[in-house]
C-alpha cells in the first residue's frame, strides 16, 4: 500500500515536473574527473532537515527526569510494555519506532545531542528555518546557506569541493544555495505532507468559509478513498516514501563522481494536535526517518564508513502538551548524528531539567548547546575546515561558539 501513489497519479504534471528537476545537472558535472589518490579520505556529509519542528522530548525522551511524565500525560514514552522506549543510557531512551538508529547507536555509529537549539529564539517556522539554513546568528536575509559557503571554502582541488552539493527536492533549499555548484535530484514521489496542508486549509475554511470547507472536506475524503483509506489524522510523510528519497540521495552520493555533500528535507513535524506517543502521528514520522537511516546505510555501502549524517530541525516544541494532545512551537530539541564516521554511542547533553523554573520562558526545554557548535564540530573534523573559516565565513560572527570536538571518529 502506497498512499502517495494514487495522489501522484492524479497529478501527472507533478510527476513530470519532478522528473524534469531530477534531470537538471549543473556545471559541476562537466568538470574533469580525476581519480582520487589511493587511500585518501573521501568524506560524505548529508544534512537532513526536519521541517516543522521536531519534538525532541518525544524522539529522545528523558525518562530519568522526574518531571518528564507529568508534562507529557498521554503521550509520554515508557520503559516498559509492548512499545517500550529503547534505553540509550541510564537517563535517555529512544522512541520505539527507531530501531535502526538504536542499532547504529549500539555500534557506536550514532549519537544524540540534546537540549540544543540554533541561535533563533522566536517561534516562526520560516524564520527558524532561515536561521538554521543561513548559519547567521539571528534572523536576516541571506542569499546563501552555510553548507554552500562551506563548499566554497574547501580547497578547490579536493573532490568534495569539486563535486558540489546535492539538494533533494524540486527546489534548492536555502542551506545549499550560493556560489558552489549544486545538483538537484528528486525522487519520483517526493516526501511531502499534503494531508497536513489540507488539514490546515480545511481548518481555515471551517472558520471563514463554510462552502469551501464542505467542498474541500469532500475532496479530501474522495482522495482518501482512492488511496485506500488513509486517515487524515495520520498526517506527515509516508515512511516508504521517506525511505525512497533517502535511498536515492545515498545512491548518488556514493557514486565515484557523485556529490559529496547533500541535503534532504522531510516536512510534517509540526505536531500541534494528536501528536501521539509510542504510536500515532509523530511515531509514523519517526518510523519514516528511521527507515531512511536504514536506507542510507544500505545504499552508501562501502562509503558508509566515511559518512556523517546530521539531522536537525528549526526548533523544539513546548515541554508541556497542549489542549489538543499535541505540542506547540518551542525552543530546544535534539540533533542526531549517524554514519560510519560518527563517534557514536553517546547522548551529549548539559541537561537543563524540566521544572517550570528550568524551562526557557517557563514553557520550553532550555537550550544549553548552540546547534552551531555541533555543525562546526562536524565541519571541522569531517571536512577539515578551520575554526577561523567556520567562525567568519560559514557561521558569521560565531567566534564565541566553539566547534564541538570529538563528534567524528
Amino acid at each position: 500500500m502506497e498512499p502517495h501513489n494514487a495522489y501522484c497519479q492524479s497529478m501527472p504534471l507533478s510527476r513530470r515536473g519532478l522528473l524534469g528537476a531530477g534531470l537538471s545537472f549543473f556545471a559541476w558535472s562537466h568538470l574533469p574527473k580525476t581519480a582520487s589518490a589511493a587511500g585518501a579520505r573521501d568524506p560524505r556529509f548529508l544534512t537532513v532537515i526536519l521541517r516543522g519542528a521536531l519534538d525532541g522530548l518525544s524522539a529522545v525522551a528523558p525518562l530519568g527526569d522526574p518531571d518528564y511524565e507529568a508534562l507529557r500525560v498521554g503521550i509520554a514514552l515508557s520503559k516498559e510494555g509492548k512499545d517500550a522506549a529503547i534505553p540509550l543510557d541510564g537517563f535517555f531512551a529512544l522512541h520505539p519506532k527507531m530501531p535502526n538508529f538504536a542499532r547504529a547507536y549500539a555500534a557506536k555509529q550514532a549519537l544524540v545531542v540534546h537540549a540544543t537549539a540554533s541561535p533563533y529564539r522566536e517561534r516562526s517556522h520560516f524564520d527558524g528555518q532561515d536561521v538554521l539554513e543561513t548559519g547567521l546568528g539571528g534572523v536576516g536575509r541571506s542569499d546563501s546557506g552555510w553548507l554552500n559557503r562551506a563548499l566554497v571554502a574547501l580547497p578547490k582541488g579536493e573532490r568534495i569541493a569539486r563535486q558540489g552539493g546535492l539538494g533533494v527536492g524540486t527546489v534548492t533549499p536555502l542551506i545549499l544555495r550560493g556560489e558552489a555548484n549544486v545538483l538537484g535530484w528528486s525522487p519520483q514521489r517526493v516526501a511531502e505532507a499534503p494531508e497536513d496542508l489540507a488539514k490546515r486549509v480545511l481548518d481555515l475554511y471551517q472558520h471563514r468559509d463554510p462552502v469551501l470547507a464542505k467542498a474541500l472536506a469532500g475532496g479530501i475524503k474522495a482522495d482518501q478513498l482512492a488511496k485506500g483509506g488513509t486517515e487524515m489524522e495520520q498526517g506527515g510523510g509516508n515512511p516508504a516514501v521517506m525511505a525512497r528519497a533517502a535511498a536515492g540521495a545515498a545512491r548518488l552520493m556514493m557514486k565515484e563522481d557523485g556529490p559529496r555533500v547533500g541535503v534532504l528535507s522531510y516536512d510534517g513535524w509540526d505536531t500541534h494536535a494528536n501528536q501521539g506517543g509510542a504510536t500515532g502521528r509523530l511515531a509514523d514520522l519517526l518510523d519514516g526517518l528511521d527507515r531512511a537511516f536504514a536506507a542510507f546505510e544500505r545504499e552508501f555501502g562501502a562509503a558508509w564508513k566515511e559518512t556523517v549524517i546530521l539531522v536537525v530541525t528549526e526548533f523544539g516544541r513546548t515541554a508541556n502538551i497542549n489542549g489538543t494532545e499535541g505540542s506547540d512551537h518551542g525552543t530546544a530539541t535534539v540533533a542526531m548524528l549517524i554514519g560510519g564516521a560518527v563517534r557514536g554511542g553517546r547522548v551529549i547533553a548539559d541537561w537543563p531539567g524540566l521544572k517550570t523554573a528550568q524551562l526557557h520562558q517557563g514553557r520550553d526545554l532550555k537550550p544549553t548547546t548552540d546547534l552551531r557548535a555541533v555543525m562546526k564540530g562536524v565541519m571541522a573534523d569531517h571536512l577539515g575546515l578551520s575554526a577561523n573559516v567556520l567562525a567568519e565565513r560559514i557561521f558569521p560572527d560565531s567566534g564565541a561558539v566553539k566547534p564541538m570536538s570529538g563528534l567524528v571518529a
Partner: protein
C-alpha cells in the same frame, strides 16, 4: 462603506486579474480610475506575432487530415491485399475529437505522432500568448472583460481537429478587437467566423428548397440558429419559439467555410454558398426578412441585438459574472438600460458596470474560476510557468479546460458549479505544487500583507504565519478565502 484598501482590492480581484505585490498600494488613490483606464478599442487585443491566423490554422489541420486519410487508405489496401482484418483506424476528425482536451491525448504504445506534436505546439503558442498578455495587465479589467465575452461566445476543441487550429485565432480575431465596440459588430464577427460555423454545425445546414437541398436528402441543421437565440442574444425564455428557430435556421443556410466545401477555394474564410441557401422570405421574432442571401442572416442578427430580452440577458450575465451569483437587481437594471440606450455600445456598458456603486458594494462572494485562480496566482508571485503545457494541464485537471467547455453555454462561473469537492482539492494540490518553486524567493507573510493589507482576516494571517514551511504558507495563502473569492 468600504475603505480605499478594500476598493483597491476589489478593483484587482473583482474587476481585474488579481494583484501583483505592489499593485494594491499603487491603486489606493483611484481604484475605479485604474479599471476605467483599461477600456479602449485595442486594450484586449493580443498582438498576433507569429501566431497563425484562421486560414493558416485551418490549413495546418486540413493538411494533417489529408495525410491521415491517405494513410488509412493505404492501410486499407494492404489489409485487403493480405485478406486480413482491416487495420484499426487512427486519428481523423472523429477519433481525435473524442480523445479529450488537447495535451491529454496519449497513445503510450505508439511513437509520438509528429502531427499531434505540431497541433499541440500551435495550441501551446496560443496559450503562452494569452497568459503573457494577462501577466502584463496593470489591473486586468480589459482581459477579464474579453474573457467574459470569449466564454459567452465559446467554441470548443472537443468538436474535432479543426477546432484545435482555430480556437486561438477565433478569440483573437472575432472577439478581442470588438469587446469595446458595438455588441452588434461582435455578434456578427463571431457568428460568421469559421470556428463558430464549424462548432455549431452551420456548415452542414442545407436549405431544403435550395438547389443543393433538392439534389440530396440532407437538410436543415438548427444548432447555430438555436444557440444564437438561446445563448448569445435573447437568452432562454427570451420570447422566441420553435418556429423562430427554424425560420432563423433557414435564413442562415449557405453560411459556410471556404476550403472544405466543393467549389469554394481557399482555406478558412467565411463563405456563402448560394446553392445551399433556402430561398425566400422568412419571419423571425415577428419580422419578415426578404431574401438578400448572406445579408439576410446579418439583418436578423442586428435586430436581435436590439431586442429587450438581449439587453436583459447580457446585463444579468455580466452582473452575475463580475459581482455575485445573485446580483443586485438595481445593477442588472442599470446595465440593461444602458445596453438599450447605447444600442449595445460595450465600452459604455463597461463604464456603467465600473461606475455602478452596487458593483462595488456587494461582498466578495464570487469564487474565482480555475482560470481566474491560476492567473491570479501567477500574478501574485510575478511568474507564470515556463511551459504553457503546464497551464493547459492544470486547467484540465481543475475542470476548466481552456477553450474546451462542456457545452455551448461555456464554462460555469457560479459557486455551485465551481466548488466541486474534487476541483477544490485539486486546487489545493496545485497550490502546493506551484508554491514549492516560488516560495524560495518570497515570504508568504509579506506577500499576504502586500496583497491584502488590512483586509486580511486574522485567521488567514495566522494560518499563513504558522505554516510549517514557506511553500506550505504560500499554498495556504493561495487557498485562503481572501484569495479564492473576489
Amino acid at each position: 462603506m468600504t475603505t480605499g484598501d478594500e476598493r483597491a482590492l476589489l478593483a484587482l480581484q473583482r474587476f481585474g486579474l488579481g494583484g501583483s505585490p505592489g499593485a494594491r498600494a499603487a491603486l489606493i488613490d483611484d481604484p475605479r480610475g485604474a479599471c476605467l483606464a483599461e477600456i479602449g478599442p485595442d486594450r484586449a487585443v493580443i498582438p498576433k506575432g507569429d501566431l497563425p491566423d484562421t486560414p493558416r490554422g485551418i490549413q495546418i489541420v486540413t493538411e494533417i487530415e489529408e495525410r491521415r486519410r491517405e494513410m488509412r487508405e493505404a492501410q486499407r489496401k494492404v489489409a485487403q491485399a493480405g485478406n486480413a482484418m482491416p487495420a484499426p483506424q487512427m486519428g481523423g476528425e472523429m477519433a481525435s475529437g473524442m480523445a479529450g482536451p488537447p495535451g491529454t491525448a496519449s497513445r503510450p504504445n505508439n511513437p509520438p505522432d509528429p502531427d499531434e506534436i505540431r497541433l499541440a505546439d500551435v495550441f501551446a503558442a496560443e496559450v503562452k500568448a494569452r497568459v503573457s498578455f494577462a501577466m502584463a495587465q496593470p489591473v486586468g479589467f480589459a482581459e477579464r472583460w474579453a474573457q467574459f465575452w470569449s466564454n459567452h461566445f465559446c467554441v470548443a476543441t472537443r468538436r474535432g481537429q479543426i477546432m484545435r487550429g482555430t480556437v486561438g485565432p477565433f478569440e483573437r480575431e472575432a472577439i478581442r478587437p470588438h469587446v469595446f465596440g458595438r455588441f452588434e459588430t461582435l455578434l456578427v464577427a463571431v457568428e460568421m467566423h469559421p470556428a463558430m460555423l464549424h462548432y455549431l454545425d452551420q456548415r452542414q445546414s442545407i436549405g431544403p428548397n435550395s438547389p443543393a437541398g433538392r439534389r440530396q436528402k440532407r437538410g436543415l441543421n438548427e444548432n447555430l440558429a438555436r444557440e444564437i437565440l438561446e445563448l448569445h442574444t435573447l437568452g432562454v425564455g427570451g420570447g422566441y419559439s420553435q418556429a423562430d428557430v427554424t425560420a432563423f435556421a433557414r435564413v442562415l443556410t449557405g453560411w459556410s467555410i471556404t476550403g472544405r466545401d466543393e467549389n469554394i477555394d481557399g482555406f478558412g474564410g467565411f463563405a456563402f454558398a448560394p446553392n445551399r441557401h433556402e430561398p425566400g422570405s422568412h419571419s423571425v421574432m415577428g419580422k419578415s426578412y426578404i431574401d438578400t442571401g448572406k445579408e439576410q442572416g446579418i439583418a436578423v442578427l442586428k435586430d436581435l441585438t436590439r431586442h429587450p430580452s438581449t439587453a436583459k440577458f447580457i446585463a444579468t450575465k455580466l452582473a452575475r459574472h463580475f459581482v455575485a451569483d445573485q446580483p443586485p437587481a438595481a445593477l442588472v437594471k442599470k446595465l440593461a438600460d444602458d445596453f438599450r440606450k447605447s444600442e449595445g455600445d460595450l465600452a459604455t456598458l463597461a463604464r456603467t458596470l465600473l461606475t455602478a456603486e452596487e458593483a462595488w458594494a456587494a461582498p466578495r462572494s464570487k469564487l474565482r474560476t480555475p482560470n481566474e485562480f491560476l492567473l491570479a496566482a501567477f500574478r501574485a508571485v510575478g511568474q507564470a510557468p515556463e511551459r504553457p503545457q503546464q497551464v493547459i494541464n492544470m486547467l484540465n485537471l481543475m475542470g476548466q479546460p481552456l477553450w474546451n467547455p462542456p457545452g455551448p453555454n461555456g464554462h460555469p462561473d457560479d459557486e455551485a458549479s465551481i466548488a466541486a469537492p474534487k476541483a477544490i482539492k485539486t486546487r489545493l494540490d496545485f497550490s502546493l505544487q506551484m508554491a514549492r518553486p516560488w516560495a524560495g524567493k518570497l515570504d508568504p507573510r509579506e506577500l499576504a500583507e502586500q496583497l491584502f493589507g488590512e483586509t486580511i482576516s486574522l485567521e488567514t494571517r495566522q494560518a499563513v504565519a504558522r505554516a510549517e514551511t514557506r511553500p506550505q504558507g504560500l499554498a495556504i495563502l493561495l487557498m485562503s478565502p481572501e484569495f479564492q473569492r473576489r
